[in-house]
Amino acid sequence: MEYIYTLVILIALGVVLASSFNLIIGYAGLVSIAHPVFYAIGAYVSALLARDHGVPVPVAMILGALAAMAASIAVALPSLRVSGDYLLIASIGFQLGLLEAIKNVSFTGGAGGLTNIPPFLIQTAGREAYVALVVGVAVLTVLLTRSIAHGPYGRALSAMRDDELAFAALGRNAVAMKVAVFALGSGLAGLAGALYAHYFRFVTPEQFELLQSAAILTMVVVGGIRTTWGPVVGAILLQALPQAITFLDLPVALLGPLQGLLFTGLVLVFMFWRPQGLVAAGEFWRPSREAPDVGRP
């Protein structure tokens, strides 16, 4: 049973990560693959606050998400003011640099990882409660991204992706919108990190490296970028698939590279042969609710 719970939690966290990443790369059109670093910030900040500073776990989790959000703004603001291209470079640099720093300082547990993270809910209300919490967060994330994507904000994002210059000349602040979306997406990733940390109670810098970037990108691209359900389908598929590989009983040294190969290979295959992903997005932006007065001739 515990195995099923773990799998469900991993899938739900994958849904949170993929949906929030879809907001950034899909709806806002921001190129960054550093999503795992905000996942890491949420995990580490929450875990350290709860373990070493006695902060209650729910508060620590929220602070972890806020820390991820703040860090994402610090990365996005300087780079987006120059041009979109720099966000990718700045964020990769930030991802690898921060993980390098985590490996080199002692209070994070270094390269060996952070242990003894205080648990939450499991002892008081049981594993089922924690599973319900994570699944609840995943459902809320999906609903949130859907309401943003198909509301007035999504309309503006769609226009911005089409033609940023014309968009700005109408009085819209493209940079502010990009930073806001990046911050929201990264904050959600931070929350996912916190939820991960207090369940598995052990994190290492290694699990937030480029392999994780490739995994999240694959969920979105294979599932269907710029759709509500694509990232969900992608997350389920890509969390379940590696689990299947673990049953093959391969040596650990082969397992990581093989998963990486699977993720990156899938992205390439889909990019060239089915760029729209499993769930195809329409080219046309749709509002969530049709107002009754629209069709009037």
């Binding site: 904000y153 309309r155 769609s158 226009a159 000349a169 602040n173 806001a180």
Partner: protein, 252 residues
Amino acid sequence: MSAVLEIRGLDKRFGGIVVADAIDLTLSAGRVVGLIGPNGAGKTSLFNLVSGIFPADAGTITLDGERIDRLKTHRRAARGLSRTWQNLRLFPSLSVLDNLMVGPRHYPGEKLWRLAFDRGGVRRREAETRRRALDVLERTGLAAVAKTRAADLTFGQQKLVGVARALMNESRCLLLDEPMAGVEGHAYETMQRVVRDVAASGVAVCVVEHNVAFIRDLCDEGVFMFAGKVLARGPVADLIADPRLTELYFGT
């Protein structure tokens, strides 16, 4: 007659190419000014400088008495400056109605926190924006195609959508970049009427146009530009009649 947009001593050069050379120009409420001159005279560049697409090297631009030349493009638009584009620049993934709905000076759903904490307010203003957009579409004769993709319209209709989108700003000053290029028939008359109505409502309008008939019928005043300079200004009929300007226009 009050000045809305005032341009003083505007300079801009790209490397060796001068696109604006000490330009002075005043646009007044309720009047339509036509910018004429050969291709490469700096007409579109002037629009780009005024709307902040790139910064000027020197000179000042004031809108309703306030300096706007240091502001970013979107801030200038928020002060009440709107424009259209030679090559349309509509949003292809949006319907005609949604193209317009992105255009108001203050967009209801531009702030994420508002979506979270002021849902009612956003919904109210969305409804209001929708009403205004439908009204503008009615005036521009586009009501029937409100839900069509902009890319599926005729070229003339697309030009009208561009102007209609700019009207959503309820701007003090409207810059129209070749509104008539490629527009024929019914859309032609609609465009003329729309521009006239806008000016009559007290907006300062500036039109770049190669269609001399359109300029003559519509503009209160003409400005002749050549090589980044304003060479002459006055009644359009006089400018057209001036043999020296005609020679510059058609080249030798």
